[in-house]
């Protein structure tokens, strides 16, 4: 195996240590405690698959799902197909607008749903630890119930859940992947257990729609390791299932397996070879995989690439909280630089939109660089939020949506400037970046019209505010283009007509913005393209011969009488 290059820092795989921490704690014992009892009980009470709930300590609740009695030997291979399940639409994302669930698990879950809905309400109200657990198909129902529960929880919920399954088959497809809730799931799987791989194809060359989610604690008689990379888990489960296939199907006793592992935990592994490890990551992962029964030959056979795992771990290791803190301040810095630019432009009686569009100052060049940083940062934030399921995405973005809106109002005009300078037309429908659209969409305007007081307070502040509609300048540019068409002798009658209509709409739009104090007084600066437009075309626009609306006349009046000079209480520009 090739050695890592010298300048890279050593990496480690903690799959074995995490598993050992779980095994040596009593968490698994607690989760497993009632399962055998329940299974025995069920023999006497066939068909009952209702979970039992008990409270071993005042702040701990345990919910156990037993597999249905007729499936303990072999859980319904005919129920192995995936069916779409719209009830879990809370997991939908843009990339994956559907969730499919294993039929057997779903049927069982649905049959219990009335009972579970009451249980859910009761559990959410409780304060403390909640362990939801189950064996085999019971574990699948436990997983579904946990998702169902997590969806109903909010920040105020004091109940802290974890779902621990034992030897459960995979329950769903790619649609389960995107949730941050993955971290609430721990699936214990023995390498002797045929059930978890039941719905998987026998070789890695065939594909499957099933996708594991959560952390898997894989164990053999020799040891155990925890993994959370779904592709790797899928491969490992395929290896396990290909090895147990054809053997005797017997119920795996997880209690026995885990007791043995707990004993083993304080035994040394194989004796020390002597040297320290030059490549700590691959040494670790190879040992970890070996202890769960996957040796080098099997790695090759099943196309499991340790180098790729290391590369992924390396890219993850780069992201740190400290680095994020620095980045956030850098973003603030770029915004401050743009604010400064805006102010300098205002002093030049032009407004930053026009200054940037005309590229008059030396510093305009750097503005492009700041924009680049800001756009990259926010495109990434928006994409991250957009990938998450609805509710999760919403709570993720509340903390920064305010900053995002300020960014949109500050930077989008510059993007518009670049677009129209390059001769573009119809920015809003042809060029506007998706991340601006989403930022605008997420920023919900208050439904009610502003009250008198609110308007007054806006009026006070309007000179320091940013224009609310970040596409304002795109409208201005379109109005200029409309006027050009109108005054062009070669224009067709239809074009004239539509241009005039656009112009009227524009006037009405600007008037509304003005009345709501939603535009910055900077648009009235002497050399802004808005004022240039007005200066150039006012005679034409105000000509009484054209059809127009009352509101449009108001706008014409506002401009003609120069009332913009006292807009927002600001000094005459």
């Amino acid at each position: 195996m090739e050695r890592r290059t010298m300048n890279q820092v050593p990496l480690f795989s903690s799959a074995g240590e995490l598993a050992n921490m779980v095994i040596t704690s009593n968490l698994i014992d607690v989760a497993l405690a009632k399962i055998p009892e329940l299974q025995r009980g069920q023999a006497a009470l066939p068909r009952s698959v209702q979970p039992i709930v008990y409270h071993p300590t005042p702040n701990r609740t345990i919910v156990v799902f037993a597999p249905p009695p007729d499936s303990t030997q072999y859980p319904l291979p005919e129920g192995g197909d995936l069916v779409p399940y719209p009830d879990f639409d809370f997991l939908y994302t843009k990339e994956c607008p559907s969730v499919s669930i294993n039929r057997a698990a779903l049927n069982l879950f649905e049959s219990l749903k009335n009972h579970l809905s009451g249980l859910k309400t009761e559990l959410i109200a409780r304060d403390g630890q909640l362990i939801i657990t189950g064996h085999s198909l019971g574990g699948s129902v436990a997983s579904l119930f946990t998702l169902y529960l997590l969806d109903s929880m909010n920040k105020k919920s004091k109940c802290r859940p974890i779902c621990i399954t034992f030897g459960s088959p995979l329950i769903g497809d790619f649609g389960l992947q995107h949730s941050q809730w993955n971290s609430f799931f721990l699936h214990v799987v023995s390498n002797k257990d045929p059930v978890p791989g039941l719905f998987l194809p026998s070789s890695h060359t065939q594909t499957t729609a099933y996708k594991p989610f959560g952390t898997y604690l894989l164990c053999s008689e020799l040891g155990c390791a925890c993994f959370d990379d779904p592709d790797l888990i899928l491969k490992l489960l395929t290896v396990i299932s290909s090895e147990v296939a054809g053997g005797l199907l017997q119920v795996v006793d997880y209690g026995e397996i885990l007791r043995n592992l707990k004993e083993r935990a304080i035994y040394k592994g194989p004796r020390l070879a002597g040297e320290r490890f030059a490549d700590s990551f691959s040494a670790g992962i190879v040992m970890e995989l070996e202890t769960i029964g996957i040796d080098r030959t099997k790695l090759l056979q099943h196309n499991i690439d340790i180098r790729r795992m290391e590369a992924e771990a390396r890219s993850l290791a780069k992201k740190t909280k400290a680095f994020d803190a620095k980045k956030l301040n850098d973003i603030k810095k770029y915004m401050a630089l743009l604010e400064w630019y805006k102010k300098k432009s205002k002093d030049a009686k032009k407004g930053y939109y026009d200054c940037f569009k005309n590229g008059e100052f030396k510093r305009d060049i750097r503005i492009g660089e700041f924009m680049g940083h800001l756009n990259a940062y926010w495109e990434d934030m928006v994409a991250q939020a957009d990938r998450k399921p609805q509710k999760e995405g919403a709570s993720f973005r509340t903390s920064w949506l305010f900053a995002g809106t300020t960014y949109r109002r500050m930077v989008e005009p510059l993007d518009i400037a670049v677009f129209y300078k390059g001769g573009g037309r119809d920015y809003i429908n042809s060029e506007r970046s998706q991340h601006y659209k989403l930022l605008e969409q997420w920023y919900e305007e208050p439904a009610k019209p502003p009250t008198r007081e609110e308007l007054d307070s806006k009026k006070q502040k309007v000179s320091v505010l940013l224009t609310e509609d970040s596409c304002f300048w795109a409208h201005v540019e379109e109005a200029i283009l409309s006027c050009k068409s109108l005054t062009n002798a070669n224009s067709t009658t239809e074009l004239r007509e539509s241009s005039w209509n656009n112009l009227v709409k524009f006037g009405e739009y600007v008037m509304e913005q003005i009345e709501n104090y939603a535009v910055s007084p900077e648009i009235f600066l002497k050399d802004s393209c808005f004022m240039t437009w007005w200066g150039e075309y006012k005679a034409y626009i105000a000509s009484p011969s054209n059809p127009c609306s009352l509101r449009f006349i108001e706008f014409i009046d506002f401009m003609k009488t120069g009332r913009y000079g006292v807009y927002g209480g600001s000094e005459v520009p």
Partner: protein, 593 residues
Amino acid sequence: MGETVGNLIGLNDEVIHPAATLAVEAHNSPSKQFLVKKIKIRHDLSSVVVLAFSGSMLPEDWFGQPPFGETEIDTGKFPSLTSLNDGGDAVVNGSFLRRFNDVLDKLSHAKELKAAIEKKKQVVFAGYSSGGPIAILATLYFLENQTLSPRCLTFGSPLVGDRIFGHALRREGWSDYFTHFVMKYDIIPRIMLSPSSTEHKQILNYFKSKFDKKNINPAPPSGFYHTVMGNASSVASYEACHLMGCRNPSLDIIKSFIKLSPYRPSGTYVFCTGNGNLVVVKNPNAVLQILIHCAELGESNTAEVEKRSLDEHSAYLSELKECLGMQAVVSLDGGPATATLNDLGLSPQAMLCLQAAEEFENRRSRNLEKIRKYLEKIEVELQMLRKYKENAQISRLGYYDSFKLQNEDDDFHANVSRLELAGIWDEIKEMLKEFELPDDFENKPEIIDLGTEYRRLVEPLDIANFYRHSKDKETGAYVIGGGPRPKRYRFIQRWLEHREKKPFGSRSESLFWAGVEQLGIDIKKKKNLQEIKDRIRQLERNMIAWIDVDKSLDKDVLLEKTTFVKWWRDLPRECNSESERIEKLIGEKAAGV
């Protein structure tokens, strides 16, 4: 090789064995709280005073409230044992702390100790078994009081404090004063990693009857090894996950369901391998991993190891007699050495844990290097701001108000500098929170000085920005702790207060402007008049002290056109208590410009 233990821990080798002997003797003399002995050093004829503490095998002297009997340390007695960045106070075993408090009075009046202090003799506090924790706390107590700089030697001592405890020791530079000898299988140094249980009681009872000498050969308990070591192993694995940079998001969730022991090793550990070799380890993460991994079961059966884990607790004297003469001592710091690991009998997985512990230290050093590079950048930005501040005097506005107005180019540049600096200090803050910088970082004089200058110069700009945007309406007032005040300033303030041994909040000069702004707002709101008067008086007094006495606040707050002077002059006369003094200061400043 060729080093002796003494060399590595900075103590004469001749002291160690006699100290161990005294410690064992003291442990078994419960009628006396401690024993004192003077030990002569042969080669330079100096002498060392050893105090050794008695022990107790009563379960209540080991475990208070189950499962771990921990309690927050009394920071009145131990002011340094706290985190300077929101990590809270150190946690120690409550029973051990109580036993230390019981002995403290007699200890501080011990004439042998007073004589040693007077003659500037080296003092060593020693403890065997449950005498160890008392020796550790006594050593710390005297280090805190700076009356003497004692050494601490323990033999088979249980763990006393948590991660913050160890972190604080290393931050203060005291870690090297503590040396703990541990036999390879001795159960007692591991016992605190496991929650209190019937097995614990059995172990303690066994030793009690053994030490009481009522029963020379009490029947040893059995079946405890799996319980104690299993729980200890869980702790070691949890820490290993962190050292190895575990990114599995389930780790935190799982951890919240598991109650792990809070106790962690600190100080220098000397492992006695049982074949005449000693291994010295200072890296606390490596110590923890070795504590667990070297006592793992190998080929020998459990019963055998279990018996050994009890026997070895009584074998320190004979073992040390054998090894101290020899020079078979290895230091593990600087990376695990293969030969040593064979002595300790570690597995490949343990080797990886040790490499991860070593790498963690390397990472912290690399982070420090990264910060060192930032220091130049900080200096450049501070220089710009110093200049900005100086220039702002010309307009008699001062840099606070100038910044708040944001009218000039210079104000914008200052704002960019402010944000550059915030980025760097926030990165430092996050690293400290995650223990990603060396433990002594917050105690480095050059860092504290630079941080303090940064805080005094730049925090007023943050306050100006805060009140310029009326953020108090959204987040509440800008106050010393919590709320909207950036945490970086709170931490940096703590570093200085800690160095000067002053209480939190005593170095709030950088918050002067927040006090002024908030008073202005509260007066407009017509809040409780008496309270406002008191606050004005306090502000005036603080200001005079900061300006006149310790010069921590610059006189430019007294410039005529500042928010402060304008506000202060508008105050009704009955509000001022120091009007003459302040008027004089304002006059002086005006004349000086």
